[in-house]
Symmetry: C2
Subunit: 128 residues, 2 copies
């Protein structure tokens, strides 16, 4: 049975919810979640879908997510063995918030790029 | 006028929306957003509220958010000058998704900690 705990406060330096923010916030975590939202995937499928992720980084990301109870890793007794990754019930509670972030990045990236260009232009001008 | 752009795809290695994921995902960004959601704040107020953030890291985070058009920095002509930070209209579009992440971290941190403990215990046991 879970122990009663004090409320989590990520503004407090010692609170473990800060680590949760780091886990969630990671670029590869966001992309793995998006991919697993469509159902279980094999390691090789994930590696193909998430362009540019190294095998080492993908392994680390999946292991971290498994340790945090967000993803399960299932080894099927085939030859060669097939390994599937899937969101857990807890992982699915995080899908919605992560999908919203991903959607935001796609919807507003043009505005962010325009803002960056304007900022860099302002910076490059001599102050009157 | 913004140029027409191809759709953003963070699964593609070259897409700039990946950088947006990195910006969003950063722990300090999430905490700064939560703090600025209550209204404009001075640098010193932010530093006090976000325990454990160094002055350098907070400055870097705020500068990055300013460059991305998510936060404005206003210098008031007082003695000493007062500097306020505030979410822009674009920044406010990101508040909801970020608040959902923060809420998730607070609501589910106990489950994550329990999963970690169970994982580490399984790992520590010899395989039969």
């Amino acid at each position: 049975m879970p122990q009663p705990m004090p409320p989590f406060d990520p503004y407090s330096a010692a609170c473990p919810s800060r680590q949760a923010l780091d886990r969630i916030g990671d670029r590869w975590t966001i992309l793995v979640f998006g991919a697993l939202d469509d159902g279980p995937q094999r390691f090789t499928e994930l590696a193909r879908r998430i362009e540019g992720v190294s095998q080492k980084m993908l392994t680390q990301t999946l292991r971290g997510l498994e340790r945090d109870g967000l993803v399960t890793r299932t080894v099927h007794a085939t030859v060669p063995p097939r390994v599937d990754y899937e969101l857990t019930a807890l992982g699915r509670t995080l899908s919605g918030p992560i999908a919203a972030l991903e959607k935001w990045a796609m919807d507003h990236m043009a505005d962010v790029l325009a803002a960056r260009e304007a900022y860099d232009t302002r910076r490059a001008q001599p102050v009157a």
